[in-house]
């Protein structure tokens, strides 16, 4: 995967969470992931087609996403309820939108599918291209989450 794909997703994630949830996540050092096991307790996954093909997954620890959604909705969430899972899909959709807008500047016209949400300890994230993927770890005061991207330019 080309490293030019990393920053739009990193910036997109920060932009969405800062704007919608008033939380400023702290990015860590990206690393390569070769298996399908999710790093978090709930993940939103969205596929891409067009001038680049692949997928994005946002995988949140339970404590982190509960805090994010509580802040977004202005009401306290308890555990991974339907509101929280619904919000994971919407956050994934928004990060995808911001990142794809930024990738337009690189000359890439990327289309997105509808996000799906998966939850449970050690659930699988199956990327469209099979992997490996790049993980950008983020830390918040309420726990970690992970941006998991596997994207290749279509030649």
């Amino acid at each position: 995967m080309n490293v030019k794909f990393i920053n739009p997703f990193l910036e997109g994630t920060s932009e969405v969470l800062t704007t919608m949830a008033f939380i400023e996540p702290r990015p860590g050092k990206p690393f390569l992931k070769r298996d399908n096991v999710a790093k978090g307790d709930v993940s939103g996954i969205i596929g891409f087609t067009g001038s680049a093909k692949g997928s994005l997954a946002l995988s949140f620890s339970e404590s982190c996403i509960v805090r994010i959604v509580s802040s977004m909705l202005g009401e306290e969430m308890k555990g991974l309820n339907s509101d929280v899972k619904d919000a994971v899909g919407e956050i994934t959709n928004m990060v995808s939108g911001v990142a794809r807008k930024k990738l337009e500047a690189e000359g890439l016209n990327i289309l997105a599918a509808i996000p799906t949400v998966v939850s449970g300890k050690n659930h699988s994230i199956v990327h469209v291209l099979g992997g490996p993927s790049i993980i950008i770890p983020f830390e918040t005061d309420s726990g970690p989450f992970f941006v998991d991207v596997c994207l290749n330019e279509v030649i």
Partner: protein
């Protein structure tokens, strides 16, 4: 600004409706009703007086653009202010919405202040 105007939020994602409702409350709007898609929104618009519509673009049954066209084609509802919400500002979508008579559009993510500013500018032009 008339903060008592009745605003209809149209979005198939329940959480996004709550997010928009929460943002509207932050800037003083409390008179809010919701609909899950364009078809239900149209039914709500015909059964009660709605002053302002905030609608998502992508929805099942009747999407935001179809709802906009239906509203503009209706003699009674035709002039209702319509703010379109979208996850991406694709130029072809913006052009289609402008041609159909959208009042303005807003790209997710957005703050309460940006939302308030969009509403204020639309209402000032009425």
């Amino acid at each position: 600004m008339d903060k008592s105007m009745k605003i209809l939020i149209v979005d198939d994602f329940a959480t996004m409706r709550k997010v928009v409702r929460n943002l509207l409350k932050q800037v003083g709007y409390e008179n809010i009703v919701e609909a899950e898609d364009g078809a239900l929104a149209l039914r709500a618009l015909k059964s009660q007086k709605i002053d302002f519509i905030i609608s998502d673009w992508n929805m099942p049954n009747m999407n935001g653009l179809e709802l906009l066209k239906a509203v503009r084609a209706d003699g009674d509802l035709g002039k209702t202010p319509f703010l379109m919400v979208t996850a991406e500002a694709l130029q072809e979508n913006v052009i289609a919405a402008v041609k159909a008579g959208v009042s303005n559009y807003i790209v997710k993510p957005f703050t309460a202040e940006v939302l308030n500013d969009k509403i204020r500018k639309i209402v000032e032009k009425l």
